[in-house]
């Protein structure tokens, strides 16, 4: 393809590699290993943190092999991945399909394949296959995510492995694949789609989470329902302010704000009546406020012949419809044990021995760390196994307890800088392939950090996914390393590409 002269002009791999990312990676690995030491420390085998029979010792093996893997990836040709992306994807689909038949049951999960003495989880590796495949597809000539046909192809590439992983009973890992939508958003997927999907999740989680709580002490009113209605009002107003008819300018803006204030007035009046005058379920008044605003928007759409109003009205009414039908399905159609399953899955069930217990213990562990933490290997909660899954999914507790607020802040800021650095690197890619792949990587990291740390802090539902570079285990560490270093290899090739262009 390229002649040797140009090849020689290309800067060496050493120079073109992004060492900042590698630095962050290495620091995170080191902090991660410290946390695994603290979390897996066993009083009965005190002082043997580098013994290979312990988890901290094994983690050294995983870290060493990951570094080896990283170097191997860096030694390959960056074009190799683009070339092989479909093959890799198809291999992974095949592997994921076969996994349930080869797997042995580990705590109800059918995702682990035993190789020799250790087990690997194909679902963790498949991410880079999917990322490569998406990058390849999107970078083909004339492919546009904004076209329905192309968009559906993207969705199919994502949904097939998701489905296969759900069949392995690894819902958490499957949900990670939804992170690719963030990348699709960058590539042109309509923002309102992402927004609507996010809104639906928020309605559902908030609605279910607070369904049983009284609203401001009024037993008849459900805090969940009230909150969701209020959110719909805010979202509607927000959408109107962003997508409203720009030609009419400030006049419209004030109309929308006035509409929001009316709704707010109705909300407050309803709550006031229920609380101080006659206790009744006045959430219905809030529903009425939402519905009225939706109908008013439909009227505006017809009057001004402006499509956006119609869509926003659709969003408003659709949101209400979605929430109440989800509520109906949840409470009327599902059996109680199915409801419990969902609530526990979302980490909402207040069950001290189940998911609720994890969250409570996680908060205790982190909260007891204070500013500076208790010191390396001095945590009591994590070492004494109060936090379940403390060296895998709940590893952040160890950071919180032993390293305190300072340690947590350093870790979170390192992750943030990694993600922002990846964002920067992605944007500097000369070709779509590299950019799409880069965005996939950063979306996956962001999703993992968001969900994992969030669940430990009791802010997001309990979804069992690892914290990159921290959680114990070879599969996830190798998976993240491959994901990251393929991108770094692609990124290292950008200059040569530039050169060849010239």
């Amino acid at each position: 393809m390229k002649n040797s002269k140009q090849e020689k002009k290309a800067p060496s791999l050493f120079k073109s590699l992004d060492w900042l990312t590698i630095f962050i990676y290495v620091v995170l690995l080191a902090l991660g290993w410290m946390s695994v030491c603290g979390a897996s420390y066993d009083y009965d085998q005190a002082g043997s943190i580098i013994d290979f029979s312990t988890r901290s010792g094994m983690q050294i093996v995983w870290i060493g092999s990951s570094l080896l893997l990283a170097s191997l990836i860096l030694m390959t040709d960056d074009r190799l991945f683009e070339t092989l992306s479909y093959i890799i994807y198809i291999c992974f689909i095949g592997l994921l399909f076969a996994t349930p038949f080869l797997a042995h049951d580990i705590k109800g999960s059918m995702s682990w394949i035993k190789i020799g003495n250790s087990s690997i989880q194909p679902a963790e590796f498949a991410k880079f296959g999917v990322a490569l495949c998406l990058a390849k597809v999107i970078s083909t000539y004339n492919f546009d995510v904004r076209k329905w046909r192309d968009f559906i192809i993207c969705i199919a590439i994502i949904v097939v492995p998701m489905g296969l992983i759900i069949m392995q009973k690894e819902t958490g890992t499957a949900l990670v694949y939804s992170a690719f939508f963030l990348m699709l958003y960058r590539e042109g997927m309509p923002g309102c789609l992402l927004f609507t999907a996010l809104s639906a999740v928020v309605y559902f989680v908030v609605g279910v989470r607070f369904a049983e709580d009284p609203l401001l002490g009024v037993e008849e009113m459900s805090l969940g329902h009230g909150l969701v209605m209020f959110l719909i009002q805010i979202f509607t107003t927000g959408l109107l302010l962003v997508y409203g008819n720009k030609e009419q300018g400030t006049k419209n803006k004030s109309t929308f704000i006035r509409m929001f204030l009316y709704m707010l007035l109705i909300d407050c009046a309803a709550i006031f009546v229920a609380r101080y005058i006659y206790p009744c379920n006045s959430v219905w008044a809030m529903v009425f406020a939402c519905g009225a605003s939706g109908l008013y928007l439909l009227y505006l759409a017809l009057r001004d012949r402006f499509l956006q109003y119609c869509l926003i009205a659709l969003f408003t009414l659709g949101s209400m419809g979605f929430f109440y039908s989800a509520d109906f399905v949840m409470n009327r159609i599902m059996e109680p044990h199915q409801q419990t399953r969902i609530r526990v899955l979302l980490g909402l069930e207040d069950d001290p021995r189940g998911a609720g217990y994890n969250v409570i213990q996680a908060k205790i562990a982190i909260g007891s760390g204070g500013l500076e933490g208790k010191g390396f290997l001095n945590g009591t909660q994590t070492k004494l196994k109060y936090v379940p899954e403390q060296d895998t999914d709940f590893i952040f507790c160890t950071v919180g307890e032993e390293e305190g607020f300072i340690g947590c802040a350093i870790v979170l800021l390192l992750f943030l800088s990694l993600i922002l650095r990846l964002l920067y690197l992605s944007e500097r890619q000369p070709y779509t392939f590299g950019r799409v792949y880069g965005y996939s990587v950063l979306s996956i990291f962001l999703f993992h950090v968001f969900i994992n740390v969030g669940m430990v802090l009791g802010l997001t539902p309990v979804i069992g996914i690892p914290l990159p570079f921290f959680s114990y285990g070879g599969s996830s560490l190798w998976g993240f390393t491959i994901l990251l270093f393929i991108f770094l290899r692609i990124d290292a090739g950008r200059l040569r590409v530039h050169n060849s262009k010239q």
Binding site: G191, G367, Q381, K385, P388, L413, L442, L457
Partner: protein, 630 residues
Amino acid sequence: MKAENNYELEKRKYVIGGAAVVIIIVYLLRLFTLQLLSEDFKVSADSNAFLKRIQYPARGAISDRNGKLLVYNQPAYDVMVTMIEQVGVDTLDLCESLDITREWYEHRMEEIKDRKRNPGYSSYTQQLFMSQLSTEEFSRFQEKLFRFPGFYIRKRSIRQYNYPNAAHLLGDVGEVGPEDIEADKYYRSGDYIGKLGVERSYETVLRGEKGMEILLRDAKGRIKGRYQNGKFDRAPIPGRNLTMSIDIELQALGERLMKGKLGSIVAIEPSTGEVLCMVSSPTYDPRIMIGRQRGKSQKQLAKDPHKPLLNRAIMGQYPPGSTFKTSQALTYLQEGIITPATAFPCSRGFHFRGLTVGCHGHGSPLPLVPAIATSCNGYFCWGLYYMFGNRSKYKTVQDAMTTWKDYMVSMGFGYKLGIDLPGEKRGMIPNAKYYDKAYKKSWSGLTVISISIGQGEVNLTPLQIANLGATIANRGYYIVPHVIKEVQGMPLDTLYTKKHYTKVDRHHYETVVAGMRQAVLGGTCRVANTSFYEVCGKTGTAQNPHGQDHSVFMGFAPREDPKIAICVYVENGSWGATYGVPIGALMMEQYINGKLSEASQTRATEFENKHLYRVDNGPQTIVNSQNEKL
């Protein structure tokens, strides 16, 4: 066009980057509130991870005055339960292994969970399920323990007794009740506390100080070591050992002699106030109060009509009878009502203005010493009559009464002496107010004449009578009687070292001592005479409106430098000389000689087998003994 589009889309990187920044900022704020704004989590973490295990100190041992071990500790095993962990235990299997019924199990579980009865309840900590398994029960249960998650064994020590004697004195320990926990924060449910005897009165000394071990406990409740290698642990301080003033041999003899009789023997070392023996009959073997049978035994004893749980020596309030005459003689002498030479007539009793107090045949008139020796009722009645009627000395009869009462109180009557045992009664010494109320202020010495011979309203405990003996032996003072001679590493309470002088001068005591000596040599106490040492004594035959008279003896020996003062009180024993004197004589012999002669042994066996009531729980029968003249 596509490039322009791309340019539009590139702006979306700010949305994505912004989302990442917002998420991290929200999480940092959350961490800030969790870690820096709330102390609750630290407290929760501590209660999670730290198991504060109480270490029980060894309770102090108790030995007698000669160093013979009376009470010591023996291992026992408690079954503990942690409610939250005991889910899914096979109840049937458990009940079988512990030999309990299902009803008992359910009842006990309810009891444990009831916060009213068990204020310190927590489903996360070990609660006492069943106490004091014997070693065999324990080994049987331990084999199966692994099958019962949430159930644990806690090693405790329980009391064991070397002798079957002195149950009332030693007392026992039992589990604390809610009121004990309320009264003293030291106790927790399941702790032991002294219930009776010195176990109770010396509880704070005997129990020592609980220690605390801070252990690290993992989520499954397994112990993973000491927090900071035991830096904050506190070792238990063992309880102090007690040396009793009791001579266990003497105590055993006393209990033997009192078998089948109701009553009491109290012996005191006059020079120190140390109680040498304190028998209350009927008694019981302290060993039946050990362990889980305590409740059952206690119930059974409480039902017994002869009230074996009652310590008659300090709780029984009896008319002292003629033993009281000594105190009267002392009072009259000190007040100048009589001199040792004063003689009063007695023709088979005191007859005056139609009032008669009977007496037995003896020479008349008699001066004081023979009057004491023959226990002349008339003499002491005349004495009281002249005292209460002496208007030159006392303005009113009330004044005389008050003076008389003050003498009695100075001799240790009418109030608790303050012995180191729980439940002491004060007895009864009437005062002027009492009679004013009873007789509407119209009364005289004649009205109350019977108090002069230890009858009527006067009531003393056997301890107070013995203390009277000790006071006479000391010629005018007593030290508050006490059963503990020495507390390990602690000085004795000054209450038990201070001399209490009576209002009577020493030389008057010598006269009374002479009378008591005369009683032994040729009066009512001849049985007590021995060639080994000079015994002094006074009998009493306390009239009992409910039945046969009570037989009383008060004495001390030797006359000079007395070693033992004694009171024997046998309910329904008729004449003082029938039971009181011979039993008292045997007791003094045992203590002073250290053993009984062969002849005395025979006599002791004879008394052991003379029963005044059927020992089974049938109705009380009085066995008439030979009518010996007083």
